[in-house]
């Protein structure tokens, strides 16, 4: 009876989330890419996809995108895992502040980050000025860093932007691993890298899978960085360029279809390679929380220097944006020549800003809440319930990472047009519902992957124990499972919140009236102002950064005692 009830609850949940994804992901996507699979007479065809594969420029673009994705994922995993291991495993001077700074690279609107990177590595940027001051550039020459050696630059910049995704997921996994296992291994003489490889790594694999799959797909479809480096022979840039054509472009939607297929294949591959994602915690008891160790003073100092270097390099675009926002002029010099608060005052005090902040808060709070709810259900179905169809739903929910924002935005328009069943969502009248849906769907993968890692790491025997003493399923979930996976949910939730706050494509297309603009659309509008737009956008970027940092701070502080230190200063202190 109970089992039958459970089965029907699981089936209902699968139908519910499947329905949500069908309605708000598959349908708009199908509307958007229909042109790739239907000929002018309305018949199904693969001729357009074949035409793309026949064109050498698009094939090369695809190869470049794949190479960027693999290289970026490797670099991000090394940096993110290394940082998380050091920060979660050891106490050293400055750790508390350094830990708080790690997510900074994710907290800039994409095009504002690009402004900062150009300021650093442009021809008249900081790095050339620095080399010039050291007389390393003969005859006043300027190295074109962003264009020469574009592949390495794109990989480095994308990895420095995305490694916090790995860090947050691995960090959450590390705080949940079983200290007894490592102590036992040490007792048997296993130390250092051997210990990490044989004991630590297997226990954090779910978190690593979560992060690696997101970074792989994200970097495969990353648009901003290759666009900024004028790296045009990359699939994402080719799609973006095709979407901007004023005439018809027979390739663009077929390219989207190919990217979708490739993404699904990539996701499947990484799932196979990292394997055992579905496995749940091994121990039949609550794991003993891990306590950071105190290294020797020399080692601690080395850790401080190394972590500062990584975090500092990754935060360089943020620093550049802050300086640019207050620069009177910054051209060919290491630091700005003259400071002013005029840009900041003009941008942050602009009429559009106050309204758009309120709008963004409304949209993003709702969408993050929806992400946490739907994402947890999907993760539970895939990892815990192992429901039939749950794997399909799980894989489906990763697709938003692969779909160009502009394609999805026009898909949403199509399903909410007058005369359609969802016309009541028409964004022209009020885009709130559709923007919340769009943000929710686009950021769902972050919550699902984090929650899945959480479920995979928490021992199912704890839930069974609760059930054996009479706790109902909801009570077990609320009192046992949820507290245990909260670090992972928080990691995913914060990413979803920050990235929704900074979402560009849906915001640009779906919010048409000034009264409904979210903050990113306002940043974009001010960026368009001729002459001073760059510094106005930088100023609003600074505001967005401040806001996100303080929100993370507040969430962390408010939930203190219920977490095991995903973002906050000291694991040791609060786990007691």
């Amino acid at each position: 009876m109970a089992s039958g009830g459970r089965r029907s609850a699981v089936s209902a949940a699968v139908v519910f989330v499947g329905g949500v994804l069908a309605l708000f992901l598959v349908w708009p996507l199908a509307e958007a890419v229909r042109g790739a699979l239907v000929d002018p007479r309305g018949r199904l065809t693969i001729a357009y996809v074949a035409a793309v594969l026949d064109n050498p420029v698009y094939v090369t673009g695809f190869e470049h995108a794949l190479a960027i994705a693999v290289a970026t994922t490797l670099v991000s995993v090394v940096i993110g895992t290394g940082l998380a291991t050091v920060l979660a495993g050891y106490d050293f001077p400055g750790k508390r502040w350094l830990r708080g700074l790690v997510p900074l690279p994710l907290m800039l609107p994409p095009f504002v980050g690009a402004i900062g990177i150009r300021q650093l590595f442009g021809r008249e940027g900081v790095w050339n000025a620095f080399l010039g001051a050291l007389h390393l550039l003969p005859g006043g020459q300027r190295v074109d860093w962003l264009r020469d050696g574009r592949f390495a630059v794109v990989v480095a910049l994308t990895a420095l932007h995305l490694f916090p995704v790995v860090y947050l997921n691995v960090q959450a996994a590390l705080t949940r691993r079983d200290a007894d296992l490592e102590d036992a291994a040490r007792g048997l003489g296993c130390h250092g890298l051997g210990l990490f490889w044989k004991i630590t790594l297997p226990s954090i694999l779910p978190g690593l899978f979560a992060a690696a799959s997101i970074v792989l797909i994200w970097s495969f479809t990353e648009l901003g960085v290759p666009l900024m480096c004028d790296y045009t022979r990359v699939t994402s840039v080719q799609i973006f360029s095709g979407l901007k054509d004023i005439g018809r472009n027979p390739f663009v939607y077929a390219l989207v279809v190919i990217v979708l297929a490739a993404t699904t294949a990539l996701y499947g591959t990484i799932r196979m390679v990292l394997g055992r994602v579905g496995t749940t915690g091994r121990a039949g008891r609550s794991p003993r929380p891990y306590m950071p160790r105190r290294p020797s003073p020399m080692a601690a100092a080395a850790m401080t220097v190394a972590v500062t270097a990584v975090v500092g390099v990754a935060a360089l675009p943020n620093i550049a944006v802050v300086l640019l926002a207050f620069a009177r002029d910054w051209y060919g010099t290491i630091l700005p020549s003259g400071l002013t608060i005029e840009h900041f005052r003009a941008a942050v005090g602009h009429d559009l800003v106050v309204t758009s902040i309120g709008n963004s808060l409304r949209y993003v709070t709702l969408s993050t809440g929806a992400d946490l709810a739907v994402g947890t259900v999907i993760a539970w179905l895939a990892v815990r319930a192992r429901a039939p169809g749950a794997r399909v739903v799980d894989a489906l929910a990763m697709l938003p990472l692969a779909v160009p924002g502009l394609v999805m935005a026009f898909g949403y328009f199509a399903i909410a047009r007058e005369g359609r069943p969802l016309a009541f969502l028409n964004p022209v009248k009020n885009p709130t519902a559709l923007l919340v849906i769009a943000y929710t769907i686009r950021r769902l993968p972050f919550v699902i992957r984090s929650a899945s890692a959480g479920f995979a790491q928490v021992s199912v025997t704890l839930e069974e124990a609760a059930a054996s003493v009479g706790a109902g399923r909801l009570a077990t979930f609320a009192r046992i499972t949820l507290p245990l996976i909260t670090p992972q949910l928080l990691a995913g939730g914060v990413l979803a919140f920050a990235l929704s706050m900074l979402e560009v494509s849906d915001s640009l297309v779906l919010a048409q009236r000034q009264a409904t603009y979210p903050i990113t659309k306002t940043v974009y509008e001010l960026f368009q102002l001729l002459g001073e737009g760059r510094q106005m956008a930088a100023a609003l970027g600074v505001w967005a950064m401040l806001f996100l940092v303080t929100v993370v701070w507040f969430v962390t502080a408010a939930l203190r005692g219920r977490l095991d230190g995903v973002f906050r200063g000291d694991v040791n202190d609060d786990s007691r």
Binding site: E124, P250, Y331, D351, L352, G419, T550, F554, R568, G569
Partner: protein, 549 residues
Amino acid sequence: MTSSRRLSPLGAGAAVLAVLGLPFLARSARPGPAPSKPAADTRANAPETLIVMTPSNEAVRYELGRAFVAYMGRRGRKVEVDWRAVGGTAEIGRYLTAQYEASFRRYWTGALGHRWSAAVAGAFARPAAPGATGEAAEARRAFLASNVGCGADLLFGGGSPEGVRHANAGRLVDAGVVTRHPELFGGDEPGAIPPQLAGEPLWDREGRWVGVCLSSFGICFNRDGLARLALFRPPTAWEALAAPRYQGELALADPTKSGSVATSFEMIIQSQMSRALADAPPGADPATRSAFARREGWARAMRLIRRIGANARYFTDAAAKIPLDVSTGDAAAGMCIDYYGRSQIEASAAAGHPERVGFASPVGETAYNADPVGLLRGAPHRELAVAFIEFLLSEEGQKLWDFRRGTPGGPDRYTLRRLPILPRLYDPALEEYRADADNPYEDAKSFEYRESWTEPLVGAMAFIIRAMCVEPETELADAYRALAEARFPPRATSLFDDLALVDYAAASGPIRAALNAPDPLEQAHWATRLTRHFLALYREVAALARQGL
């Protein structure tokens, strides 16, 4: 661990509130006029609303919206402008196309009771052939006779090619302004706006759109960048940009992304055709001379565009990126809309460096393009929309485009630096108020535009430039570099200048036909064929040049 090291929720909450309060603080500290009220007004005397689709930036929207509200206020009417911004020209085009298709489909299947088909969908927004019959022609007639709409009143901005495109599709309708104002559209009337300027239409004879201001493409340059390349004279003609020293230094606009950019490339072709006409066999009859000019001018222009393209850093869809990259020194020079260039110079001057950025208009090689406003079919507030068009064409509206901020009748927050379309605004008496001394009506006299020579080929030209320069950019740049390093050896150079697949005959024949074919696959096959051809060509040129051949 002491509690002082813990994060305090109270402190963190206060920090969030402080950050949220910053915009209010900055707003209260801002000098100048009080901020405008938000659009929503729920009082009983709620204003009439005008809905305008536009790619124009906030500066244009702010100044025109503010002035129109005041203009109507003096006529006893309370109005507000609801600007609808869905992105740039491409996004607006897609949005309007989708909205009108959905509206017409409802009308066709609902009110008219017909069946929707691919043929109807493909035909209702395309001009029908004269005397056409059948379902497709009926759909076209039904659309043109209908009042189906997209919920907006006006389309404003995007360049005259957008006005022409949406008017031809039937999405724009006659606002009656052209017939009601012979003093403005009377052809030879003194002070009237001519129908064309150097071949470019300034208003639609059927009244579906009218131009309200003018812009052109020129060359913006960074003097530090030029000095670094040992180029001591600023480029003032397109040909100057073909110099191999500009390798990787040019920021160019993509003609497949904007009709205005395509027009400026068309002007390069027109000017080369004019020069070729001078070289035509003197004794030949006019038809032979004209054919020679078209064939030879096209070839010269394509070779020139290929050399300029070989120097490109990129071909962008974002016109504002070009002056920005030039001003930051990432590009030494770029192809730039005039008011973007002027605004960037002003910004550099404001930062204390007026000498850093410059702008030159290639005289006789550039067209003036009108920025249009047009009444959308099914406009819900037609009468107010017409009033807005008339305001834009009034002296009061026209002064906003180029009068300096704070001058009598000028803008109050942003100097827009765009050229008004009303000829009388170029009266010397107004010069003291204007930000720019340019007079497009004088400048354009140096240029003779022959519409039939290039106008039908603009689409094919953009398609060819994409296949010839944009797609194979790496191989093209490499070939040109190899040629320059080998001092242009004859065999390699002759191969580089080969235009066999994309000469005038091919462009006006099979390529143009493929672009107009109902099935986009034909276009795709041509694109692939040309791309393969040029990739192989440039690789061979580079190999030959490196052998000194």
